[in-house]
């Protein structure tokens, strides 16, 4: 465990915890971008540069902007401030803490402890492109189909239909 890992871990956890804890939804998404950027920096630290930059482009660039747009489009000023948390927030927190406890116990008692860090693999984008075009070409095509279907489906679902005259 290195100092850079500690710094990035604290940044990531602080960003995501603020994203789930703050009252104002726009502030939540801003804190979320910090958390996503921290995860991207962890990918870079692990030697997965391509995934790190993909994370920045997709999550920080697209998903967070999309969430901000959705929050602003659905913003309704109410005279009474609605509570930000569900009335059963206590039980939700208990369940999440229990899940973390079980996962941490499994990780601590697992056999992954003896692994030393292998030497940095020499991965460049050309190898990733070769793999995507040869070995993983069928998953790539299916992913393209899925993204097209999701794009059309999202537009159709969110489209403002006028009632057709009967």
């Amino acid at each position: 465990m290195t100092v850079s890992f500690l710094i990035l871990a604290i940044l990531t956890v602080a960003g995501t915890a603020a994203a789930m804890g703050l009252r104002n939804a726009v502030h939540c998404v801003l804190a979320l971008t910090v958390g996503f950027a921290g995860v991207a920096a962890l990918y870079l630290q692990l030697g997965a540069q391509f995934v790190g930059f993909t994370q920045i482009m997709v999550y920080v660039g697209a998903v967070a902007i999309l969430a901000v747009f959705a929050i602003m489009m659905t913003h309704t000023p109410t005279p009474v401030q609605l509570p930000a948390y569900s009335p059963h927030w206590f039980w939700g927190g208990i369940v999440a803490a229990a899940v973390f406890a079980v996962l941490a116990w499994a990780i601590r008692s697992g056999t992954a402890s003896a692994q030393a860090l292998p030497p940095q693999p020499d991965i460049n984008v050309q190898q990733i492109g070769d793999a995507l075009m040869h070995r993983y070409v069928l998953p790539l095509e299916i992913m393209g189909l899925l993204l097209t279907a999701a794009l059309i489906g999202a537009v159709v679902i969110a489209m403002d239909r006028k009632e057709e005259p009967k």
Binding site: M20, V39, L46, A84, A96, L132
Partner: protein, 103 residues
Amino acid sequence: MSSLQSYLLLSALLFSIGLAGALTRRNAILVLIGIELMLNAANLNFIAFWRFGPTPSRLTGIMFAIFSISVAAAEAAVGLGIILAAYRHSRTTDLDQMNSLKG
């Protein structure tokens, strides 16, 4: 504690934060963001196991993470579209006020 374990613990913590958000927030968009956080935790696991695995030159973990990010992006687009459609119908994104299936 080895460094693989510390990455796995961080990923478990991210997952729990996302789960807590998805279970306790009332805003539907923030619940969706909590689900995105859980997917991110899974991606971090893929990359950590790839890096500490025996054959990182086979790129398996990177491929898993790339496809998982694509699926998460599609899920976010469709989910936000559904939230917008539900908002147009019921004029709220508060999950405790969306309590009827029939409009």
